[in-house]
Symmetry: C2
Subunit: 355 residues, 2 copies
């Protein structure tokens, strides 16, 4: 039986994408070679890479606006470092909204002065700080659009006069925004874009080349741009599966269409969390709730053993919360169906009846 | 028709491995989830990672000898940087035997003084320098065991009193050696170990932690060791396919058995290159020839169009030489069969007859 996969990442991908990816691992497009044994310099793979890069810009509405797309390796963790290496000359500002922001700050501190404009650490990151000010003299301002672990999400893109950098790992391609407000967006693929193993970077070229330090080749965005994202052997499989997922999203109608489905899923689940007396949401202010990761706990004295039994029996996977929050986390990435969310909601109702 | 794949990398992998990998992309081991949608913290993936790490040590004869195995990202290009970041305090020695050695030297220069103990650049890297001396006061000595582009291979491991670091990307697991002579071995997976997307690092723990500089987390071997190679989300698919390939090698009898097959393949092809008057080998000294990548040119006045037609018609793929050498390159990695080499040799004979 196929599971209802609420895993926080690596996570569910469209079934049609996985079927096509599996076929390509046996033989790519009838060429007598597997996807994973053909040269990354072959015309087939160069086409895959170029299509994926172009489709990213198309989805984000950033074609012909001075942006470059890279498929790199090392996940968001490597970008914490690369962003600072490439952009931090003197001082940078960070908004601290969770574990990943905290890690990004830690890595960037090696390269210059850091201003934490606000932090929600005082309440275990259960809200998004408001009313912060970004100094005008920083090299860039860094935000995390969605906090996978705590289940919070920035609803408004801050207005800044300095370059805006965003870790969009866990909600990219899930909701419509004016993406041209960002100067650099990065995202580990393994939520809404593809399997683990590649990292998307979308960068406005004119913010690069302004720091004095020497940058190692592999960490230099300009080096990767100069080689069309093929400075070294790219992670072929992960890039191809990302392309398939981007195509699936396009066939479905793009970000504006998936956003409607994501809104319906979030409304359904948060509605039940708020209605059912046996559950309580983790996030302090409902306006800060993530539509990708819903974090919730059982009410005191609720029967945890029974709830765990019920969702496991229903074929639900990946519902345990991160250890720094506890409780439960339902990750509802693009490929998760409304039906799967309905199964979870039905289990929550059944739990109420049986308690 | 399945091609005879002589591609230099990404390259041929065992057909049984690709079939199993494709199955896992649909559903892993009957658990109701695809390999690429399950959590990297699941017991299934933790087992994959641990099995792969252990099997590497087993193949290399390095179990319980103070070595740690990591599956990282970024290929050998990232290791050029990480090696220097982690080990270069004052001065390091490098043997320059080709394009990749040259790149490794370039990246390391940012971190300290570099001594190039010898170079074969004067002859476009068509030989392996002999009689070089490694200074006793360097932090480490770096070599490249096989030069994919030029088709040369180190036949003897240099004796050193300093830590020995080796880029073994294109011949690891292909021949028996006393691997305990190395203190750090790294290899991009995409030749003998698996698909593009993961990098193997085998490091003797006692050489680490000796530099003064602060090392960014993602570039710090000790950080990755401390998290059992799961500091960040690993490239799940690439690690799993590497495990399958390592298991295939074990079932076949291990490195000593594959070495016999690799020797037979190399003998067959180099025998024909030397016999057939229409071909000449690129490497100056036959003793320096690589058993993984055979580089050769057509004799003057030979009919290139006819040869290219014949090997293409025979279903041979990936035979063009690298642009810095020209001519042809037959890459004969572990998974390439003796039959495929025979097909190439037959084409070379046919070419002679028809010329």
């Amino acid at each position: 039986m196929k599971k209802h996969n609420f895993s926080p990442g690596p996570c569910i991908l469209p079934a049609s994408v996985m079927a096509k990816a599996a076929e390509a691992v046996v033989e790519y497009n009838g060429i007598g070679l597997s996807l994973i044994e053909m040269s990354h310099r072959s015309k087939e793979f160069v086409e895959i890479m170029e299509s994926a890069r172009n489709l990213v810009l198309e989805h984000l509405g950033l074609s012909n606006k001075g942006y470059q797309v890279l498929f790199l390796q090392g996940g968001a963790s490597m970008e914490f470092l690369m962003v600072a290496y490439n952009l931090l000359q003197n001082k940078a500002a960070y908004l601290n909204t969770g574990t990943w922001s905290t890690k990004a700050i830690k890595e960037a501190k090696m390269f210059g002065e850091l201003v934490e404009v606000a932090s929600s650490k005082d309440q275990n990151f259960n809200y998004i700080p408001a009313n912060f000010e970004v100094p005008a003299d920083v090299d860039y301002f860094h935000i995390t659009s969605n906090n996978t672990i705590f289940g919070t999400q920035l609803q408004e893109i801050p207005n800044t006069t300095v370059p805006l950098v965003c870790d969009m790992s866990s909600d990219i391609f899930s909701r419509q925004m004016d993406f041209s407000k960002f100067d650099l967006i990065y995202a580990g693929a393994q939520k809404n874009m593809g399997p683990a193993g590649t990292t998307l970077v979308v960068v406005k070229e004119d913010i690069l080349g302004k720091v004095d330090r020497q940058i190692p080749s592999m960490l230099d965005y300009n080096v990767h741009i100069g080689k069309d994202s093929m400075f070294n052997t790219p992670p072929v499989f992960a890039v191809y599966v990302s392309l398939l997922t981007l195509q699936w999203l396009k066939d479905l109608g793009g970000i504006s269409e998936i956003e409607k489905i994501n809104n319906a899923k979030a409304d359904l689940l948060y509605g039940e969390i708020d209605r059912n007396p046996l559950f309580k949401g983790f996030v302090a202010n409902p306006a800060d709730r993530s539509k990708m990761n819903a974090t919730f706990n059982l009410a005191e004295n609720a029967n945890k053993g029974l709830f765990d039994q019920l969702w496991n029996e229903a074929g639900i996977n990946g519902l345990n919360g991160h250890r720094s929050v506890g409780g439960y986390r339902a990750s509802m990435y693009n490929a998760l169906s409304l039906d799967s969310v309905q199964v979870l909601v039905d289990v929550m109702k059944e739990f109420e009846q049986k308690s």
